[in-house]
Each structure stands twice: as C-alpha cells, then as structure tokens.
Assembly symmetry: C2
Homo-oligomer: 378 residues x 2
C-alpha cells in the first residue's frame, strides 16, 4: 500500500464501518440514523457555466480494446462479447439480457490514496466550518480546519463528514457542487484532475460492450448523486444507469420550486451484498457482465455468474506500482482478498493492470464542455 498522508487504517476503514452501521435498506433491523448534523446550510452556489471538467481524450469514439495488450484477458472478453451477440451461437443472449455492471472506485478510476469522494467530502466540509455552527462544534472541526486532508480523522468523524458533505443540499445543487469541485481539484499525488484518472482500457471496454448491445450500469459504493455528476460525461453512463449508495431524501416544494433535499442519513450502502440487492431492486435483471476490483464486489460477481447462462466476471487487479498503485489483500482501500482467492474456482477473469493494460490513463485533455446538468434542466 502506498504511503500517503491519509493512509490511516482507522480513517480508511470508514467504508467498512459504514457497511456495518448503515445497511438499513437491506437489514431486518431498525435503521439507526447517523449521529450527524441536522440540515446543514447550503453555502455557496457553484458557477456551473464557467467550470469545465477534464475528460480523457479517447472516450469517444471507442476503438475496440486498443489499450489492452493481447493475451488471455483481452481474448476472453472478446470471445464472450462475440458469442453472446451471435444469434447462431449456443451462448447467444438477446439484447435485453445483456446487462453489464461496473464498480467505479478502483474499477473505472483510481481509488488511492483514498476514495476520491472522501477527498471531496473533507474539502467541502472544511469549507463549511465557518458557516455552520453545528459543524464548527464537532470535535474534529479544529483539526479539519487546520490540516484538511492531513488531519487525523477517526471513523466517526469521517462518517459525519461524508454525511455533512451531502446533507441539507438538494440533489440538483449537490451535483453542481461536485462538478465545480471536479473542475478545480487535483489528485494529491498525481496532480491531475480526478476525472483524468479513469482507466483508458476500461473506458474502451464500456464502449465495446455498448457497441455490442450491452446496457452498461455503474454499481458502486460511492454516492449515486456524486457519481451522476460526472458519469454521463466521463463514462457515457446516463443518470438512470448509475446505482450507488444513497442518502435519504425529502421532497420539498417551496416558492414554486420542487426538489429533493438530502437528509443527514445514509439510507442505503451499495457495497457487498447490498450491490446484489440494489441490482435486483433497481435493474430487476441478473447481470451477465460484472466488473469489480475488491471484495465489496464479491456478491455482485457471484450473483451474476452463478447461473447456467453465459456470463463473465472480471476483477481489475491493481498490481502496477509504477503506473498506478499496487495493493490487494492487505489494503484498507479496495481490499481484494476473498474474491482473489475464489476467482479461479468461480472462473472470474483477473485482469492484471501491469500485464494486460497497454495504457493505464488516457492522455489529458481539457474538454470545452460546459458543466451544466445534461438532465436536470432549468
């Protein structure tokens, strides 16, 4: 695991904890609201029209798997896609069954030294401290104000911070806040915009699947509203095909304006078995192409591949410490242990970033795309 200012296991374990504390929507137990601040004020409005998000140059048009090295991985992917699309094949699947699901963090973009959404949350809440007396009184407030990402934040603190970053804001406003942040923020180690830290071979894979009649979903632990802020532009995945963790929201109609406002409570954690729950609940179909990179994707992989139908489970293995990061069984971010052990028996394809990716990231380009919601409208 790389050394970083944020490599504190206590801190990085927060997502695991979230899974324990917050799996309300797929639990038999009563939901326990987080000990989180109530309705934080909405401070700043983003300047959406001025901001731009950088995206990799080669997203569109997609050249089929050009950044994949020839080898078993590329071959298995190509064979699978070819067969399910071939009406003469015994493995043919009609288009409506060609459902592909992709994890996001660590599968479509990097996740070290810390899930990028956590970086957003820390930076956003740091900016709220002067304006929100409730947040300012939190035990972690002083450290956060002084040290930002380098502050010592325990699990409880990080949970409160992630919650506070979204709570009290309408879902439309939140997406604009994320877009505005993405247009300015840079990765602490790689010094590039986060949206450039997407994996070119995986972007090509998304396109390759779409070209062959697959409907591509993101199913990831990140907040659904966070991911929707960039998924359409960066991945070509529209909002209705993004599934993620979700704050509970409240409908509000004021001054002729209708909106959904996030409550200070994470209602659903889209991780582990929660991913299978969400796929069944929201898609209602069993996916046949499943891509992940950590044990949080285990059940999703298992759910899609344990049928008699053709299916392909794929695990992105982070084994390239030169071009990206190298971590698996011992990592606190994106831990890959059980799924790596069981992959051979489950016939899951383990993709080596070092060996199978000819390129990792795409060349940078600053897209002249105004950051406006492609969906929310005026």
């Amino acid at each position: 695991m790389p050394r970083t200012p944020f490599a504190n296991p206590l801190v990085i374990n927060a997502l695991v904890l979230l899974g324990t504390a917050l799996g309300c929507a797929h639990s038999t137990e009563p939901c326990v609201p987080l000990a989180a601040p109530t309705a934080t004020a909405v401070p700043a409005t983003a300047a959406p029209l001025a901001a731009t998000v950088t995206v990799p140059a080669a997203v569109q048009p997609v050249v089929a798997l050009a950044s994949w090295r020839d080898g078993v991985a590329k071959q298995r992917i190509q064979s699978f896609v070819q067969e399910v699309g071939d009406a003469a094949s015994a493995h043919y699947l009609p288009p409506e069954q060609r459902i592909a699901v992709f994890d996001n963090d660590g599968t479509l973009w990097s996740e070290q030294p810390l899930y990028f959404q956590f970086i957003f949350a820390v930076e956003r809440v740091r900016g709220l401290l002067d304006k929100d007396p409730v947040l300012a009184k939190k035990p972690w407030a002083e450290g956060l104000k002084k040290d930002g990402l380098k502050a010592h934040l325990d699990e409880k603190a990080l949970i409160e911070i992630v919650t506070a970053s979204e709570a009290g804001v309408s879902t439309d406003e939140f997406r604009e806040l994320v877009r505005s942040w993405l247009s300015e923020a840079r990765h602490p180690k790689l010094a590039r915009p986060f949206t450039e830290l997407t994996f070119l071979p995986m972007l090509e894979l998304l396109g390759f699947l779409r070209q062959n009649g697959f409907k591509v979903y993101i199913v990831s632990g990140g907040s659904v509203q966070f991911m929707r802020a960039f998924a359409a532009l960066v991945y070509g995945v529209p909002p209705e095909q993004v599934i993620g963790s979700a704050m509970d929201t409240k409908y509000q109609f004021q001054n002729g304006k209708a909106e959904l406002v996030a409550l200070p409570k994470l209602g659903f954690l889209d991780d582990g078995s929660g991913k299978a729950v969400a796929i069944d609940r929201i898609i209602g179909k069993r996916p046949v192409f499943i891509a992940g990179n950590s044990d949080g994707d285990f059940e999703m992989l298992e759910y899609g591949t344990s049928t008699n139908r053709p299916s392909l489970g794929l695990i992105v293995h982070h084994d390239d410490e030169v071009r990206e990061f190298a971590y698996d069984r011992q990592s606190h971010v994106g831990k890959l242990d059980r799924a790596l052990s069981e992959a051979p028996a489950k016939h899951w394809l383990v993709v080596s970033m070092k060996s199978d990716f000819a390129e990792v990231y795409a060349p940078s380009t600053r897209a002249a795309v105004p950051v406006v919601s492609p969906v929310a409208g005026p």
Copy 2:
C-alpha cells in the same frame, strides 16, 4: 364508489396506513419493521411454462391514440409530444430528457373494487394457511380461510397479508407466482383476467410516447416485483423501468444458487412524496410527462411540472360508471381530491374516461406467450 364485497373503508384504507407506517426509506425516523411473520415457507412452485397471460389485442403495433376521442385532451397530448420532438421548436427536448412516468393502479389498469395486488395477496396467503403454522395462528386466519376476499380484514390484517404474500420467497420465484396467478385469476365483478383490464387509450399513449423518443417508466405504489411480473408483456415496459414499493431483501447463496429473498418488511412505499424520492433516486432525471389518477400522484406531478421546461401532467379521471367505475374525492381506493382541485392552477390535463376514451378496455385475446421470465434466465 361501487358497492363490492370488499368496499370496507377500514380495509381499503390500508395503503394510506402503509404510507404512514412504512415510509422508512424517505423518513428521518428509524424504520419500524412490520409485525409480520418471519420468513414464511415457499409452498408451491408455479408451473410457468404451462401458463399464459392474456393481454389486450392492440398493444402492438400501436396506432397513435386511435382510441382517444378528438378533443382537448388528445390535442394537448399530441401537441406536447410533437413540440418536444421538433428540433425547430422552442419547446424541443433532447431524447435523454424525454422521461415519462406512469402510475399503474387506476392509471394503466383498473383498481376497483380493490388494488389487484391486494386480491392476489389475499388469495395467496389464504393458500398458505395450511402450510404455515405462524400464519395459521394469526387472528385473521380463520376468517380468511373461510371467506377469502369477503372476510372482514382490518388494516393490520391486510398489512400482514400483503407482507406475507411476498416474504420468504426469492424475487424470481415471486414473479413466477404472480404470473401463474394472473393466468388463472379473474376480476370479481368483470370476470375478466386482470391483465385485460388495462386501458387501451393508455396503452396507445405508452406506445405513442415511445415512438417519439420517450423513455417510459412505471412509478406506482404496487410492489415492484409484482408489477415486473407482467409489465414487460402487458405494457412493454422492461423491469429496469418499473419503480414501485419494495420489500427489503436479503442476498442468499445456497447450493450454488444466488438469489434475493424478500424479508417480512416493506422497506419503501412508492406513494405520494415517495414517488418523487424514488424518481430522483432511481432515474436521476426530472420527468416531463407525468400521468397519474390519484392524490398519491400529486407530488410526482408537481415535481415534473414545476420547472421552466416543457412538461405535461395528466390525470385520469374515473367518471365512467357504465364502462368502468366512477369515483374521485370520496373514494377509499384511488382517492382524487387535492390533485383534482389543484389541476387547473397547475395546468394539469384532466382526462375524462367517459368523454375522452372512445374505448376503455381492449378486446380480449389469449396470447400464446409462454409465461417465462424474459429477464431472469435459467
């Protein structure tokens, strides 16, 4: 309101109650699990290949609004659809913004004397009593066994029955149970299969919208798994475009088989403001065409139409006691009061079934379509 064996206000108010007790997923309060039986046994397996579901004859191909009488309603619908699809119009919307949402009960098919899913639940649970000792001990068990739909069932009983009808069964199995039931069951008054009690003009409207680039969703208070059992076949709406109330489910992997099993707890009620919550959560786009028939659709209508974008809110008014049923402000099923009062100021189109529908139901046909899941696979 029509007189029926089931017109007991206490009973029929159950959905309203459900809304109060079970709005967990959009509440700030802890979720309270229902006082419901734990994991009821799965008794019978459906015989899916033998069963057929009857569907109206004229679903495919759709002749544009042929069963609508000429008039203001038909004209407004046609104008709206024409304008948003016309790139030269000031009201043009790109296809990705053409999101249409339809309530189901009372909007796409009848809902009198009782939501059809309640009839399913009562009949199914009646059949479980001999096999499930926990259910058999319920205070309502004896009455249910003796009188079925004519039994006196109070709110608590009906809530337990609806929950028990789905709990303990995998979501795949449940859909097959519903399909099997739909292939045999008949409406208590009209003596027709429930799937034939869909409104022909509304089926045409679904097709008309799709032909013009709209993505059509069902957003209804019924169970999402219940509706998915027939929505693809009867409405042409695939599982991933069906949004409804949802039981909490648990991922289970046993004997090499992965499935989601419903817990005895309704985790989300898709009614009232819950519909706006679900649309934002699952679709992530604000709909521009919104059709409902009751106050349970009020917030969904308001959410879609209170913007500067072109939009059309539509209310199906049940005012045809000869061909269907006549009810609105005083009804315990599909109560339409506030939305009817506010429709003029909100510019919502109130469609008179009596005046605007040239036909109500389509001619019957027994489709030779095997009832197999088009999506779940083997």
